[in-house]
Symmetry: C2
Subunit: 402 residues, 2 copies
């Protein structure tokens, strides 16, 4: 068995290629056996092994470099054994570029406990998940499949076993996602268990080391700086290839930005992923704090609800998008964005897209998925160019007024 | 004003390029200002100006030559004025190849009266359409929009006006679609009115002649041979560029095949379209009778319900397709069809497609739409090749055993 340290060797490497004049914003290259990820970059969510309503050819065509698969969902349906029979998730889903899988913890814990957004909206217990988490012990988490009701036991070892069968380039340790309503004591206990689980994940990963994969640790500690400091120390001292920022990040955006900044100040310079973040402003703050990659279902999800991403003053209600169902676009002869080079913007007016959503044609969701995916690729590209061109501070300030 | 006869001149022509040794099966080229349609061929339905769940780029990529837009639906949503403002339906929907629009009669009459399939299934009156047709007079049909409840008056002149605004290459006269439950007298009366409406359509078309369009007449007469004979004479004596077979074709497949054969024996050799027909066996019988083009929502509709077209003995229950939701495909490592060269068959297993439908990923419907569209293109191509290669009789017999 190899050491699995993965900080060097194999087909993996992490190289900083440019830095902003001030702060921690930077460009880097993450090399994987399936190609390079230029960072800062966005990871598109193929939760069940598909970008809802689009094909992998679309994702490739818009210039996406990396996608994400979901360990929890793929375990329950279709099962990792079937994916392994195909030679792994790359072959199964028809994607030959870099890929990341999450650990499954978010779905098992966070959705069962309720997320910040649910707490704010008074939906602390989501009906479809509330009864899914049966028991959490030191060994792992017993939960019920939301598909067939079968009992499943998730452990750090199981998460890595599944992820090794799925065969993504970048994989994550299993953590417990503590919710925002946890007290400091509860958050600390959860964090300490997460650290023990991460060490067990690492041990299993090293024992079954496959040079085609590298492991990311996950920083926990909720919104408490002293706990985050302790988690940063744990991650820094562990031989992970990369790291991800997980756990509760407070109840508002400013608290999240402050926490990310605090965490990034302490972490060693390794490939760093910000889990579940995809708002344009959030990405800017993350990049400014030194994050490399982001993922979120947001761009592709809102596309299916007629929302087109746009980074201009005309974006409605500072939501960073246009809602094409709005009657104001009924006779709008413009493309979504005259500067965009995507298939949708080159061929169709807002009036046509408005019509498709009125007529409930699925093609509307697909055309906006293409636009939103291309938008995210161009958005990340413009961030990289600003950093490389020594214009980051100007770019950041200009767009944070959005 | 030009004569609008359209049997010669302009950018339109109809040329027979090959004939089967016996019978009326043939290959032809229909030239239009937007390119050539090689027949026999299949017309893909872009009812509301989109191929549900796919893009026009997909339709082009699979090799489709012509699509169809729906006058009734586009009139009500988004309105032909908006389409005209875009420069026509080609520009609006992003399709630069040949295009046909139907007259709108089918939606107004047939769906209101109930179709054969509804009658058989005891659903003679469809709830969403039954109250839509308010009054039919010699002048036209008063109906209520199913979208906003507004009253609309469809006349032969209005249908042509809409179709001239939509700007398809090939357009249809307005006819009344008499249902199967009409008596012979009712069918005859309806047919005679259809003929008067077709003449009015033709007059309006000629008065507002646009050299970029040609007009098809529609043969009526229900399942009564003497009425069909009368309608054939009317069509043959009228200066239409092409002709379509409409109206009730009886209550079973054999009656339909016999009627089509009877009608095609009598019609002059002009471009001939078979309205709403898309089953593989039905197409074979139509081609054998001398039909040029077919259209149907079937291939793209069943795709969204997990059904993949296939012309092999393994097709389930002689339905000419596989239902990929079926548990038997759960671990099937084969593509839908090893002989198919489409994106879906070249990249994905049946197991993956089964998984997408289980996980309710819209990508499944898109991937099967791509396959089914490519299948139809290849199916029509193999029919043309059989005719050109002097193998039509063998091909026809071989496949009618399906």
């Amino acid at each position: 068995m190899n050491s699995g340290d993965g900080t060097a060797g194999g087909n993996f490497s992490y190289t900083i290629t440019a830095r902003a004049a001030t702060g921690r914003a930077h460009c880097a290259r993450i090399e994987t056996p399936h190609g390079c990820i230029e960072t800062p970059n966005f990871i598109f969510c193929a939760t069940h092994g598909a970008i809802k309503s689009a094909t992998m050819a679309h994702v490739k065509d818009v210039g996406a470099q990396i996608i994400l698969g979901n360990t929890y969902h793929l375990w329950l349906q279709p099962g990792y054994e079937l994916v392994a029979k195909h030679g792994g998730l790359h072959r199964f889903v028809g994607w030959d570029g870099p890929m990341l899988t999450d650990c499954g913890g978010f779905q098992i814990f966070s959705l069962a406990y309720g997320r910040v957004v649910d707490e704010i909206k008074g939906k602390a217990h989501r009906s479809d998940f509330q009864k899914s988490l049966l028991k959490v012990t030191e060994d792992g988490a017993l939960f019920r499949s939301h598909i067939d009701g079968s009992q499943r036991f998730m452990t750090p070892e199981k998460s890595i076993e599944i992820q090794q069968n799925l065969g993504a380039d970048l994989v994550l340790t299993l953590d417990e996602c503590a919710p925002t309503h946890f007290s400091k004591n509860e958050t600390a206990a959860s964090m300490h268990r997460s650290h023990r689980w991460e060490t067990r994940s690492l041990n299993y990963f090293q024992e079954h080391f496959d040079d085609r994969q590298r492991l990311y640790g996950i920083v926990q500690g909720g919104e408490f700086e002293d706990l985050r400091r302790e988690s940063i120390d744990y991650i820094n001292e562990s031989p992970f290839f990369g790291q991800a920022i997980g756990g509760s990040l407070g109840v508002d955006k400013q608290q999240m930005y402050d926490l990310v900044d605090f965490v990034m100040k302490g972490l060693k310079e390794r490939p760093t992923h910000f889990l579940g973040i995809g708002g344009l402003r959030d990405i800017l703050e993350g990049v400014n704090a030194g994050i490399d990659t982001f993922d979120c279902v947001h761009p592709t999800r809102i596309a299916r609800h007629a929302c087109a991403l746009i980074a201009k003053p005309e974006a409605e209600y500072a939501k960073e998008h246009l809602n094409l169902k709005n009657a104001r676009y009924r006779e709008d002869m413009n493309p979504i964005d005259t500067d965009c080079d995507c298939y949708t913007c080159k061929n169709f007016t807002r009036a046509y897209l408005h019509h498709l959503f009125k007529a409930r044609e699925g093609t509307g969701g697909l055309l906006l998925t293409i636009h939103n995916a291309r938008f995210m690729v161009r958005w990340m590209q413009s961030i990289r160019e600003a950093i490389k061109g020594g214009r980051w501070e100007v770019f950041y300030k200009e767009h944070c007024g959005m």
